[in-house]
Symmetry: C2
Subunit: 253 residues, 2 copies
């Protein structure tokens, strides 16, 4: 049995804890958070503490805290033989290099407060400063998901940029789509099935193959009539993305 102390009680920490309840080789022996009330859910199921000095020795310290708190633990944890890993996409592995064994255990997903997530298909990106611990992290990840990737800190940074394009920026385009609908008194929900289909399409097709629309067809009449319906900000975005699509698909304005 490999023992784990879990730091954090947020959405991700809670999901990880639940998934690990069923694990055979791993056991969460303690949960830490500085706020007592946040530990309520965990109290009945395992040992908990709000005091870093009371953290018990364990095989793995799994740190699911915010980016700015992650480095704080590097100094405050007394027991130095644990494998210390954090769950952040943006923080380098080296933040815990004052421990002998350290790594990263990064689930690549967008977590929102009011939306539950099915964990078993979430990719978990792992990294460790030695091969033995990388294998332990792989076993741990396989308790939670079927998708485990060995990813270096440099690759994780690249993944994070790509994620900004396909998630943060995409969500912003949804926001503009909603603004256009709302301003014209059209319910945005009409577009929900299109949004879901556009996303699920690229599981089967490459996004380049899946591209459709007036920019790809170089349909200038439609493009110009669209621009008339947009505000200044939207026109700017429409022009730049239309131009990019035309460049990629070999056509010019």
């Amino acid at each position: 049995m490999i023992s784990i102390v879990l730091f954090g009680t947020g959405n991700l920490a809670t999901h990880l804890f639940k998934a690990l309840l069923k694990a055979e080789k791993f056991k969460v022996v303690q949960v830490y958070n500085h706020k007592p009330e946040s530990l309520d859910f965990f109290k009945e199921k395992t040992n908990t503490t709000t005091n870093l000095a009371e953290v018990v020795p364990a095989d793995i310290y799994l740190v699911a805290l915010k980016d700015d708190v992650i480095p704080v633990l590097a100094k405050k944890l007394i027991y130095k033989n644990a494998l210390v890993v954090h769950t952040s996409g943006a923080t380098p592995m080296s933040v815990y290099s004052n421990f002998e064994k350290f790594g990263v255990f990064y689930p690549l997903q967008t977590f929102s407060k009011n939306k539950t997530v099915d964990f078993k298909n979430i990719p978990i990106c792992i990294e460790a400063n030695n091969e033995v611990d990388l294998q332990i992290l792989e076993q741990l990840a396989l308790e939670i998901t079927i998708k485990v990737y060995k990813i270096s800190s440099e690759q994780r940074k690249v993944l994070h940029v790509a994620a900004v394009f396909v998630s943060n920026f995409v969500n912003y385009l949804y926001t503009e789509g909603q603004e256009i609908c709302t301003r014209n008194k059209i319910p945005f929900e009409i577009l929900h099935p299109l949004i879901l289909e556009t996303a699920s399409k690229i599981i089967d097709l490459s996004p380049k193959e899946a591209q459709t629309g007036p920019a790809k067809r170089n349909d200038l009449e439609v493009i110009n009539s669209h621009l008339e319906l947009l505000n200044e900000e939207q026109q700017k975005i429409y022009k730049i993305l239309t131009g990019s699509i035309q460049n990629l698909h070999g056509k010019e304005l």
Copy 2:
């Protein structure tokens, strides 16, 4: 029984035909297409023709052809008592105003050759030049989907622009995300679950609520480190969308 002649044998026409096989009040009595081989699928199930002069009289002429062919039928169809409707998002209803009864029957979805689509949740936007025929189109749409919207030609144009943002442009951002991954030898599939979750999130949350990422947090350190990893085109897009998100969420560079 309301009789229908279906014009077209493409993806949409085929989906519509299959859905209408189960209809109680409607029956496709003939399918037209100019290419004989495209009629193979339909031959065993109904009457077919490649000759416009052989088109039979019917209650509804349902035109699921490409935008540029739609107006051609306006002149060539001899039987003028049918309710003539097309399935296009971009063509105005008035293209068939030489008929007494005309309208639009527009399923709002992205159809790709190699990807089947579940029709029962696809919104169908209907429009007609009179109330009686609008109700007939509503009944027809309800045979296929539970989501029917009465949408004017003007609103349909707005919907089409919004669809460009949430589908065509979104797909282009997927393309850039894939390019970033491929260039750095990271499998794009790692991002698939994130893409699906980003899309399905906005069914429960408004996109404005769902926004996350460095632009929203105004995390300049991360933003600058991201820009270094991008090509010129991607930097342009990154900067403009980051600026827009910061404007919307009340922060400045």
